[in-house]
Every structure is written in structure tokens, then in C-alpha cells.
């Protein structure tokens, strides 16, 4: 009996020790806690209750900026007025599994839900396989407080034509009016016009976005610099956030009448 217990203890130790072995920097072996995070977090967002006005933070490009990310998380955990966070992509710099885990181990300390987009760096190596397992589909959407957030993969340069980027079928499906939302916000990693974007279709993209229900604005990361652009001179504003290195994020307050933004340094 004691012998069997000893074997059990030994087995537990060995299983735990498995984490200390790394097969390869690009291996895709992930524990259950690192699977389908976006789905889990969107569930949390849906379960949140809010009155007409809400706030969310938008940041991105946390690649290799773990010190700054920790400060960001401490800052966010110190305030209670933000409902959720959107990470605009580039979790990793080289598509290494450990980069994703290093970031996720920090993000899970957040007291509020967060969703994460896929950046162009997250596609490198076996990064795309890790992103898909960890966070889920590259195109996704969720509704909070009757506002629909449509999150798109716009990293066209990383894919060939077998993967549509941006995925117009997905967009067409998502912009259909439904009972649960009245307004739309588009979120992407790469803005139109960037070399990473499929600029052959950028006008079509602009047109398609315009067809959505009461478009508020668009969000992007990738450029590492805070900027507001009206890329197509059609009144649609694209807000770009600083990289995490610059220790800032964008804070949006969405009211029943409209919205407001603030660049917050921490």
C-alpha cells in the first residue's frame, strides 16, 4: 500500500516535471489552461452587467515587453471602471510558444476579461498553430451592451490565397442585423494601407465596413504609435494604439449617444 502511494507520488512529481522539459521552442504542446481563452473570456464579458455606458481599454504589441505588460496589468487592476480589454495582436515577436505563455501567465492576473487578436508576428514559425489553440479562430466577434465588436485577421502578407484575409464571407455574415446589437466597432491588427494588408481589396474592405450597423469606429495595433486616421476620407476613424513599450493604452467610453476616447499613460 505504501509502495503504491510512493509510486503515485513519484508519478505526480514526474508529470509536474514535464513542464520543466522543453521539446522545442516551436513545439505546440499546450496545457488545458492555455486553450480557447477568447471563448472563455467572451463568456465572462457576456455575463457582465452594465448600464448604457461602458468603458473598455485597447492596447497591443506586447511582444518582448513583459515588464511594461506587468505594469499595465497592475494599473488596470488598480482601477474599477473598465469593463474589459482588447489586445490588438502581436502577443509574440518570434512566434515562440514560450512568448505566448509568458504573456498569458501575466494577462490571467487581470481582474477583468480580455480578448486577444492575432498579429502578424503571431503567425511566424508555428505561432499560428499556437494562437489557434490558445485563443481560437482568427476572426471572431462578440456583443457587449448592444455594441458588436468584429475582430478581423488582416495579416494578409503572412497567408497565401488559400486563407482569405480579410475574410469577406465572415464580414458579410457578421454585419447582418440581429436583435442583440445596434452599433458596430471593427478591430484589427493591421490597418488598411499598411504593407501587411491586402491593399488590392482595401477599397472593397472600406465599403464593406461601411455596410455594418451604425459603425462607430475602427481599432488597430501594429504601427506601435498612437494615431487617428480617416484612411478613406469617408468619415470612418481608425484609432491606432501605442505599443506596450510606450506604456500607454486607449480608453474608450461608449455612451448611448456616442463615444469618447482617452490616451492613458501609466
Amino acid at each position: 500500500m505504501i509502495k503504491r502511494d510512493l509510486y503515485l507520488i513519484l508519478l505526480t512529481i514526474i508529470l509536474h516535471a514535464c513542464d520543466v522539459f522543453e521539446y522545442h521552442p516551436y513545439d505546440t504542446k499546450l496545457g488545458n489552461e492555455y486553450e480557447n481563452i477568447n471563448k472563455r473570456e467572451i463568456e465572462k464579458i457576456k455575463n457582465k452587467s452594465s448600464s448604457g455606458t461602458f468603458k473598455f481599454a485597447f492596447m497591443g504589441d506586447t511582444q518582448r515587453f513583459y515588464d511594461e505588460t506587468e505594469k499595465f496589468i497592475d494599473h488596470i487592476n488598480g482601477r474599477s471602471d473598465i469593463d474589459f480589454i482588447i489586445h490588438g495582436g502581436d502577443v509574440s515577436d518570434f512566434g515562440l510558444k514560450k512568448e505566448f505563455i509568458w504573456l498569458e501567465d501575466r494577462m490571467k492576473r487581470l481582474k477583468i476579461p480580455y480578448v486577444t487578436l492575432c498579429g502578424n508576428h503571431d503567425v511566424l514559425g508555428s505561432g499560428i498553430e499556437i494562437y489557434s489553440t490558445m485563443y481560437g479562430p482568427l476572426n471572431f466577434s462578440f456583443v457587449y451592451n448592444r455594441v458588436k465588436f468584429i475582430c478581423l485577421n488582416t495579416n494578409a502578407l503572412e497567408f497565401d490565397y488559400s486563407t482569405p484575409v480579410p475574410d469577406f464571407d465572415f464580414m458579410l455574415e457578421e454585419i447582418k442585423p440581429t436583435d442583440d446589437y445596434d452599433r458596430t466597432i471593427f478591430v484589427m491588427h493591421v490597418p488598411p494601407g499598411d504593407i501587411e494588408f491586402n491593399n488590392n481589396v482595401k477599397m472593397t474592405f472600406a465599403y464593406q465596413i461601411k455596410q455594418s450597423q451604425n459603425l462607430l469606429f475602427c481599432l488597430h495595433a501594429h504601427t506601435h504609435t498612437f494615431a487617428i486616421n480617416d484612411y478613406f476620407d469617408d468619415g470612418t476613424l481608425y484609432y491606432g494604439c501605442d505599443s506596450m513599450q510606450k506604456r500607454s493604452y486607449l480608453l474608450f467610453t461608449v455612451t448611448p449617444e456616442g463615444y469618447d476616447y482617452e490616451l492613458v499613460h501609466f
Binding site: A17, V20, F21, E22, Y23, H24, P25, Y26, D27, T28, K29, L30, E35, R64, F65, Y66, D67, E70, D93, F94, G95, L96, K98, E99, W102, R106, H121, L124, G125, S126, I128, E129, I130, T133, L157, I195
Partner: protein, 219 residues
């Protein structure tokens, strides 16, 4: 017929030792040839691997196996390993190849048992190795579609650094290998070091991982 017989007699008379001389020169040529072959074999024998090695984890695959050579009084080793990486949650499995240089500064004999075996400790090893992973999504130079300098680190080649310890058991009556060596290493790579240098919140245990191995010394 007479002419032919006369010819032979004259030939034998004129060159009495010729047949002997001929066999001598043949012998000489044979000797030279054998000597050359000997040298040729000896030269090639230098690259007969001195040991085989199997390693678990270590940034080279789930399991790697290969051959190696030692030199410099067995203080230096070069390994050539092939690794296998299963697909896990990804789309495909991968093969890897590793060229690994090990330096073993000290060797400590632990026990002398003249007629049985001998234990020997190598208290510190340091290794530098290049690992290349094969697969469509891995490249050394960014594909031409990217602008210059868009991505700077090769995705298929990692430069790894490892420190370890080993214990050797030398058999007095070997059957397959004369010495069996078990070892562990802690390893990291160029990109992890780069990340750790830039971030105080990344600790040593974040960038180092463990690997285990076994070596069979044959020559």
C-alpha cells in the same frame, strides 16, 4: 618454330633475372598500393563515431538520437543528432537536426574496482549547439515577399546554450559499449536570452529548461 625457340633462349640469356625483377616490381607496387589503402582506411577510420547518444527534450525535439566524436583527451565532443517533434496540438510533426559542441573541463574518478567497473563524474559540461527545424513555415532568410528587415530572426535555426553534469560507468567486460554515461542539461537559446536581457520580470527558470540524455561510448 626454331626462330621462336631461339628468341626465347636469347631473351632468357640476355635478361636472366627479368622474370624475378618483374615480380619484385609487382610486389613493390602491391606494397605501395596496400600502404595507400592502409592510409586511406586509417584516415576514414578517424570519422567512425566514437559514441552514440540519445537525448530527451533540450530544444531539439521530443527525442533526439545520433552519433558523435571526442578529441582533445576526451575533453571535447561533437554530436550530430536527428530529432523528432510530434505535432501535439499543431498541424504537423517536424524533424530537426542538431550540431552540438560539448566541453568537459573536469573528470573525477569516483571509484576504482579493478576487476568490475569504474564510476567517473563529469561535474560540469558546457554545450553550444545549432538546431535546425524542418517545415514549410520555417525559414532561415525571410521569404522575398517581405520588405527588407521586416523580420530579423531566422525561424528555423536556434543557437542554444546548455550547462550540465554527467556520470559515467565504465565496464570492465563490455558487451556493446565500454562506458555508459547518463547526463542532464539545462538549456536556453538566443531568442530567450534576448527576451530575458530586456525584461527584469523574466527569471532564469523562465528561459532555461531541462533535458536528459544517455551516451554509449563505443570506441
Amino acid at each position: 618454330m626454331l626462330k621462336f625457340v631461339l628468341g626465347i633462349i636469347i631473351f632468357v640469356l640476355c635478361f636472366p633475372n627479368s622474370s624475378h625483377a618483374q615480380s619484385d616490381s609487382i610486389n613493390e607496387v602491391t606494397l605501395k598500393y596496400e600502404h595507400r589503402i592502409e592510409k586511406y582506411k586509417k584516415r576514414w577510420s578517424n570519422i567512425i563515431p566514437d559514441y552514440t547518444k540519445i537525448q530527451f527534450a533540450g530544444g531539439m525535439g521530443l527525442l533526439s538520437a545520433g552519433i558523435g566524436w571526442d578529441y582533445g583527451n576526451k575533453h571535447w565532443e561533437t554530436d550530430l543528432l536527428l530529432g523528432f517533434l510530434p505535432k501535439f496540438s499543431g498541424d504537423e510533426a517536424h524533424a530537426t537536426i542538431t550540431l552540438k559542441e560539448n566541453y568537459i573541463p573536469w573528470k573525477v574518478t569516483l571509484s576504482h574496482e579493478a576487476d568490475f567497473s569504474q564510476w567517473m563524474l563529469e561535474p560540469f559540461t558546457v554545450s553550444l549547439y545549432f538546431n535546425k527545424i524542418f517545415g514549410d513555415t520555417f525559414w532561415q532568410k525571410p521569404p522575398k515577399k517581405y520588405p527588407k528587415g521586416y523580420y530579423y530572426a531566422a525561424t528555423n535555426l536556434r543557437i542554444n546554450l546548455a550547462f550540465g553534469q554527467r556520470i559515467n560507468l565504465h565496464f570492465k567486460n563490455p558487451r556493446f559499449s565500454n562506458t555508459m554515461c547518463v547526463f542532464y542539461e539545462v538549456c536556453t537559446n538566443d531568442l530567450y536570452i534576448m527576451c530575458a536581457v530586456q525584461n527584469k520580470t523574466l527569471k532564469l527558470h523562465d528561459i532555461f529548461s531541462l533535458s536528459l540524455g544517455i551516451k554509449f561510448q563505443i570506441l
